[in-house]
């Protein structure tokens, strides 16, 4: 088993008729993902790439039995789209949209958890279980089926690491982009606990960056609860304070959230920290061999 998405994943695309939505729908379909429905209000009855479009997620669910939604609507409409998916009983909601306001996301996250759905993102590249299904915008070709779980706050940096893993013959069980914003539906800890329980996942790569305390909490969680080998990478060592580095999340305020602080937290939890994307695979390989030795004793 992979986590979050697998070959039983049935996807409804919210915003399927938009530029982004239709482009990535084609990409997901090509990868083999079961796209079963799309939603754009007022466009019910149309088809995009052969996929039926509905006015509402509720109707789309009724007609297609979708269990996962991926959201490509513009930022002003994204909170409504997430709430709609949660209210319609969608189990997993992956929000690609970036630029959603923080106070909106606070309410949205609270509502989603009341409804019992799981939200990935916003500002996430998506989730992929290589060889099975891809729900998001990442390039499928760089991934390889395997047993490394990858969880990350960023997009292209993850691709870099994933490519490095694949080229080193370290395939992935699932790669999860939790999103670069300050308020996100699922944290590192949420995803780490899924990887820990997942029988297919044998090792974990965590890609963090400056800002917030998510990495520190992940380090504490790994020390307490994770038995599988973990390698961490933290971007932003030389990012200056009080400057915003692209992501809403990537700002350091006060003493908290520096890369050094995060790296120290990982090291204190005896977690290996890679110095650059290029040596993640190498460190992970060493960890796995050590782990193998330990098991052979």
């Amino acid at each position: 088993m992979s986590i979050l998405v697998c070959s039983d994943t049935r996807v409804v695309v919210q915003g399927i008729t938009g530029r982004e939505g239709s482009f990535h729908t084609a990409g997901m379909k090509e990868y083999g993902t079961k796209i079963v429905a799309g939603v754009t209000p007022g466009r019910e009855g149309e088809r995009v790439d052969g996929i039926p479009v509905y006015n509402t997620v509720k109707k789309a669910r009724q007609e297609s039995a979708a269990n996962t939604s991926v959201i490509y609507v513009p930022h002003q409409f994204a909170p409504d789209a997430i709430l709609e998916a949660a209210d319609a009983g969608v189990e997993l909601i992956v929000c690609i949209t970036e630029g959603i306001s923080t106070l909106d996301m606070i309410k949205v996250c609270c509502y989603v958890s009341i409804r019992g759905s799981r939200l990935i993102g916003p500002n996430s590249p998506g989730v992929i279980s290589p060889g099975k299904t891809k729900v998001g915008i990442m390039p499928g070709a760089i991934h390889k089926e395997g047993s490394v779980g990858v969880v990350s706050r960023s997009g292209t940096l993850t691709y870099e690491v994933v490519q490095n893993l694949s080229m080193s013959d370290l395939g992935q069980s699932t790669c999860v982009g939790i999103g670069g914003d300050s308020i996100i539906g699922s944290s590192f800890v949420d995803i780490l606990s899924l990887f820990e329980e997942d029988s297919e996942t044998q090792a974990i790569v965590l890609i963090g960056e400056i800002g917030g305390r998510d990495e520190e909490e992940a380090a504490a969680f790994i020390r307490e609860k994770v038995t599988k080998p973990v390698v961490a990478l933290v971007a932003g060592r030389c990012a200056p304070r009080e400057k915003r580095m692209g992501h809403a999340g990537a700002i350091i305020s006060g003493g908290e959230g520096t890369a050094d602080h995060k790296i120290k937290a990982f090291e204190e939890a005896s977690i290996s920290v890679a110095e650059s994307p290029g040596n993640v695979a190498q460190i992970l390989r060493a960890e796995l061999e050590q782990e193998g030795d330990r098991q052979n004793l």
Binding site: E217, C238, P240, G246, H247, G254, G278
Partner: protein
């Protein structure tokens, strides 16, 4: 987006938070006039968007109009963390009995606003948090019911058991939270909130940072000051849809994606140099956007070598290559340009750059190493 202190004071005042008498000026002469009118000691405070102005000597107390002139004149000649001081705020100086801290921000872990109060005001709250965390009182705010009076009272009574004073503090907290919500703040802070000798509450300093993602809801704020807008290059980059932050190093970086950009900068440092900037060209960049990016990086005189690191997902390497090639030709580039292209259409991209003077690298590690080496030549 951070707004200036004087603007934050205006917001406070319009929401009923007591603020001192104050006026803004661009000249030492003007500051002197204001001090004369106030006819009492004043504080002269640089209006900048970066923190740490106190340590930079950009806040001074003046006992007389003459002293005010002198202080303003000195402050108006300063730079604070690279930001030139253009305006000073002249504020009545109060007789202070106590200094409190009040602040509201977003608690990322709990996914909700957090209201903080401390009896240790007037110093940096991060210091208080480190040295005496028990002196910061916090209340998490549930999004269902928002900030309630009982929470305001709970915090206020933690600062003072005096009923009148606590009631005043609770009212200010309530107003501050209203500002936080109405303006979509990521931070709203009063440090210090003072009790004067005549037992009055007054917000001496005012700090408001607005959530960039919510700016579309506040067209009225777009005219206000902005940290990124300070640097002309940053303004230019923003206009062209690029996320650019100027830094102090010598390697100009052009990358797609914020995380990858930071990782690239980290590598530059690791190989012994410093990045001249953060620059994220975003996803699916067009030829023009790429060309603009090179343009902006080259406008920074400190830059000695350029490092382009592209991982093509939605972004197509051939399109990036076209943009780079166009800019190279147009601008008669005479700096080392190291390019790493990977992912979607990487072969086509590399092919297009084959006969330019650009150095093509196989990995981001290699690219960073070469760029640093070239810059040192």
């Amino acid at each position: 987006m951070r707004i200036y202190e004087y603007q934050a004071h205006e917001v406070f005042s319009s929401h009923g938070i007591p603020t001192p008498q104050m006026e803004l000026t661009r000249t030492a002469r003007g500051a002197e006039e204001i001090a004369k009118r106030f006819a009492r000691p004043v504080a002269v405070k640089a209006q900048v968007l970066v923190g740490g102005r106190g340590r930079a000597g950009a806040v001074k107390i003046a006992q007389s109009p003459d002293e005010t002139h002198e202080a303003a004149s000195r402050i108006l000649s300063l730079h604070v963390k690279g930001e030139r001081v253009r305006e000073v705020l002249v504020q009545e100086a109060l007789q202070i009995k106590e200094e409190y801290y009040l602040g509201i921000t977003v608690d990322r872990s709990h996914r909700c606003p957090v209201v903080m109060a401390s009896p240790s005001g007037g110093v940096e709250i991060e210091e208080v948090a480190k040295l005496t965390p028990q002196r910061i009182f916090k209340k998490l705010i549930h999004p269902l019911v928002g900030f309630q009076n009982y929470q305001a009272r709970l915090l206020a009574f933690s600062l003072s058991r005096n009923k009148e004073r606590a009631t005043g503090i609770a009212d200010i907290l309530t107003s501050l939270f209203r500002i936080f919500e109405e303006l979509d703040c990521s931070l709203a802070e009063i440090n210090p909130l003072v009790i004067t000798e005549d037992e009055k509450l007054c917000a001496l300093d005012a700090k408001i940072v607005i959530d960039d993602n919510a700016l579309y809801r506040h067209p009225e704020l777009s005219s206000l000051g902005n940290i990124e807008a300070e640097d002309p290059l940053e303004v230019k980059a923003r206009q062209r849809g690029l996320s650019y932050v100027r830094l102090d190093g010598e390697i100009g970086c052009i990358v797609n994606g914020a995380g990858l950009a930071m990782a690239t900068m980290d590598l530059v440092k690791r190989y012994g140099s410093e990045p001249a900037n953060f620059l994220d060209i975003g996803g699916g960049a067009s030829k023009d956007r790429v060309s603009s990016a090179l343009d902006i990086v080259l406008s920074d005189r400190k830059v000695k070598a350029i490092l382009v690191n592209i991982f093509g997902g939605i972004t197509r390497c051939d399109v990036v290559a076209d943009g780079l090639k166009e800019a190279i030709t147009r601008m008669k580039l005479n700096l080392p340009l190291v390019i790493r292209l990977s992912g979607t259409n990487e072969d086509e991209g590399r092919a297009r750059l084959a006969h330019t003077k650009a150095i093509l690298a196989g990995s981001m590690d290699e690219a960073a190493r070469i760029a640093v080496r070239e810059a040192k030549k």
